[in-house]
């Protein structure tokens, strides 16, 4: 590897809040050439040959885990998946012990998904390997934020000045936080919309627009990022019912039809159809939900490449095996 001199992102990717606009743009630009690899018949390049990556998933995940694994495999890294069930975690091993034991096997990178906010940083502070946050509690999910940005940029050909409203349970959403930081840094205008019981009390200090009514958000926005409403929020007493949530905040075709322009619809998945988003919106012409998933692989390849010391200007060449 090229060493610290070529570490444009630093050692780890823990969130979008600590990144600069230039770093975010660099990741998005680096993802562009990687998109093409997934379109080939043989979806594999030798860029990360010999690198060992552990995917440490302490929470259930399909999309993110598979997306990371494809990104790693298409770059020819050797990967191992560790979950909380069927591993030493189930025997009560602490996070730091798990990580140190893995590192003792001389790994290069750890991708971690964990239910506790700060878990990725906790790990990054204690091991030498690169750490990529694949979602930590209600803190950040930076690669999701990046793939949302890439998808919006594909669609609008710009991010600066774009009006994006995040709709739903912002309080408990790591996707929302990564979107807010990422979008603001690249010059987009950001709003949030949802019941006040599901917005952080200090939302005003995050310097985003707040809409209490989804109709107003739709009138304002170029794009909506619709968050998954976690069903356990009802037991927590945050909202009275899913039925009412859908009636008041659900993104429906009727509501979108009254908008002054066609809105692009994002959703990080998995969707609750008929709750936060209606099926005809999710499956409709302005939904980019599956583009997000496709872009997820490219963005994660870019992050893996840059953290491993890959040089951004050689990303194109990297596809044939050089560039590190």
């Amino acid at each position: 590897m090229s060493g610290a001199a070529a570490a444009p992102l630093g050692k780890d990717l823990l969130g979008l809040e600590p990144l600069t606009a230039e770093q975010i743009t660099l990741i998005l630009d680096t993802a562009e050439p990687f998109k093409e690899i997934s379109e080939r018949a043989i979806k594999k390049v030798p860029t990360l040959r010999g690198a060992t990556i552990v995917n440490l998933f302490f929470e259930a995940s399909t999309r993110t885990r598979v997306s990371f694994e494809f990104a790693e495999k298409r770059l020819s890294a050797d990967t191992v998946n560790v979950g909380s069930t069927g591993s030493s975690v189930q025997k009560g091993e602490t996070l730091v012990d798990t990580a140190r034991n893995l590192e003792a096997m001389r790994i290069d990178m750890v991708v971690i998904r964990h239910g506790a906010s700060g878990a990725a940083q906790f790990l990054a502070d204690r091991i030498e390997s690169n750490v990529i946050n694949a979602g930590d509690g209600t803190h950040e999910h930076p690669t999701q934020g990046l793939l949302d940005l890439l998808t919006l940029r594909d669609r609008f050909k710009r991010l600066d000045g774009l009006k994006v409203c995040i709709v739903g349970d912002v309080l408990h959403s790591r996707v929302a936080r990564s979107n807010i930081w990422g979008l603001k840094k690249v010059g987009a205008e950001v709003a949030v919309c949802g019941p006040r019981s599901l917005l952080p009390n200090a939302i005003d200090e995050l310097e985003v627009e707040v809409f209490d009514r989804v109709e107003d958000a739709i009138e304002w926005a170029d794009a909506l990022n619709v968050l998954r409403l976690q069903l356990e929020r009802m037991q927590g007493g945050y909202i009275p019912s899913l039925r009412e949530y859908n009636r008041v905040f659900g993104v429906s075709r009727e509501r979108l039809e009254r908008a002054p322009r066609d809105l692009v619809i994002l959703h990080p998945g998995p969707m609750n159809r008929g709750v936060e988003i209606d099926s005809d919106v999710a499956d409709g012409p302005f939904s980019v939900i599956l583009d997000q998933v496709t872009n997820g692989v490219a963005v994660r390849m870019a992050v893996l490449y840059l953290l491993s010391g890959g040089r951004p200007e050689l990303a194109e060449a990297a596809k044939s095996g050089g560039g590190r």
Partner: protein
């Protein structure tokens, strides 16, 4: 009986007797025998002399709020290690909270603490008994028997008394024995699951916050219950500007309310949590700069009576984990004086005399304890410290078993040189 001890040439500083000036202090038979510009030994040659030039000689500090973990968690602290840590921090007496395992909720448990403290031979340890059996918030513990065995107050600290009826009864019942009810103010449904202050930092870090109102709702509930019952409520570890307003409101009306604040709430803000530092995790949580400012003013104007440490040792492994899962609390006995000097005295918020009042005289007054004064004939519990020297906090040197402090590596001002309990030198500064 040991030889008399002459503290020669220190700055005698005792707000309880309005003493502040250079002089000598003679201790004999465990009592303060005399003090003045120059104590005349009259040719006696059986006196030990301690040179106190450049040092402050003050009434021994009293911590009305600490957790010594014995019985139950002797791996993180014992009464002996806690009492030695106290002595090293200049405390001649500490009050041990009853959230032990088993809970200190009966006279036998209180007696155990008294015996362990006597064996340790360091700082005095006064047990605080539980308000409710098992701290379960249901049935009152036997205050009378616990006081008979040596308890000086009651508290369910660590847990709020959720039932207003139980708190009312406790305040009424405590009047018989003349003890304060030390109150952990936390509205449990608002605070549930909270890991830090609710605000912009918790929103950014994705941690569940505890709003100021969780403390303030209970503070005003119990101030009102103190007004109703005439019982003495002592509000523990106050952390918000709203609480300060409520205490002021209560005191202006003559309600029997007293309050303490902790050195960490007077020096640090929620920003210390940044990076998910579990040594900045405590309950109540570190608040905002506006709260810290209001608390400092409340210490200055007397709204806050005493400064107490809430010393809460935890095992390294328990703090070395995900933030939300780490336990609350930090150790404080060995840094309290220096933190208070560094953040309260050095910036000119209070003078050294006021600090001695908050750490020694007021705790004795509020909890009706001996000491807290250099008055002739009173018990010879004395702390001698250098208010100016800077030092760097190195937790590996603590006498406490706990290493969990947010002040690691910080340069602080003020060091304890000698701690004297009952006329006996129980701590002498090393180096």
């Amino acid at each position: 009986m040991s030889r008399p001890l002459l503290l020669r040439g220190g700055r005698l500083l005792d707000p309880s007797t309005r003493t502040d000036g250079a002089g000598d202090l003679l201790i004999a038979n465990g009592k303060i025998e005399s003090l003045g510009d120059r104590v005349d030994l009259g040719g006696r040659d059986d006196v030990d002399v301690l040179d106190c030039a450049g040092l402050v000689v003050a009434p021994g500090f009293i911590d009305v709020h600490c957790h010594l973990r014995e019985p139950g968690r002797e791996d993180v602290e014992t009464i002996a290690t806690g009492a030695r840590a106290a002595a090293a921090g200049g405390f001649t007496a500490v009050c041990a909270m009853p959230n032990t395992d088993p809970v200190t909720d009966n006279q036998a448990a209180v007696g155990f603490i008294i015996r362990q403290a006597a064996r340790a031979g360091a700082a005095r340890v006064y047990p605080i008994g539980a308000i409710s059996l098992g701290q379960r918030g249901e049935a009152l513990a036997e205050f009378g028997e616990m006081v008979g065995a040596g308890a000086v107050a009651v508290s369910d600290d660590g847990k709020p008394v959720a039932s207003a009826h139980l708190m009312r009864t406790a305040l009424e019942y405590a009047r018989t024995f003349g003890i304060p009810v030390a109150d952990h103010c936390e509205e449990p449904t608002l605070a549930a699951g909270g890991a830090m202050n609710e605000g912009i930092v918790s929103a950014r870090l994705g941690l569940k916050g505890v709003p100021n109102e969780a403390e303030e709702i209970m503070a005003i509930r119990d101030i009102l219950l103190a007004r109703r019952t005439g019982g003495h409520v002592h509000l523990c570890h106050m952390s918000t500007r709203g609480s300060v307003e409520l205490i002021r409101w209560g005191k202006e009306r003559g309600i029997p309310v007293t309050a303490e604040a902790c050195p960490h709430h007077l020096s640090l803000t929620e920003d210390a949590v940044e990076g998910y530092d579990t040594n900045a995790k405590m309950n109540p949580p570190l608040r905002t700069a506006a709260d810290v400012e209001a608390l400092r003013e409340a210490v200055r104007d007397g709204t806050i009576d005493a400064i107490a440490t809430d010393h809460a040792p935890h095992h390294y492994d328990e703090k070395e984990r995900e933030f939300a899962d780490a336990p609350n609390g930090i150790v404080g006995l060995e840094t309290a004086l220096a933190v208070n000097i560094t953040w309260l005295v050095a910036p000119g918020i209070i003078d050294l005399g006021t600090l001695v009042d908050k750490m020694a005289c007021a705790p004795a007054r509020v909890f009706h304890l001996q000491g807290g004064t250099l008055r002739r004939g009173s018990v010879a519990d004395v702390t001698i410290f250098d208010p100016d020297t800077e030092w760097t906090v190195d937790p590996t040197r603590f006498r406490s078993k706990g290493r969990n402090t947010p002040y690691t590596g910080k340069r602080l001002r003020g060091r304890v040189h000698y701690t004297i309990v009952d006329g006996q030198l129980i701590h002498r500064r090393e180096e």
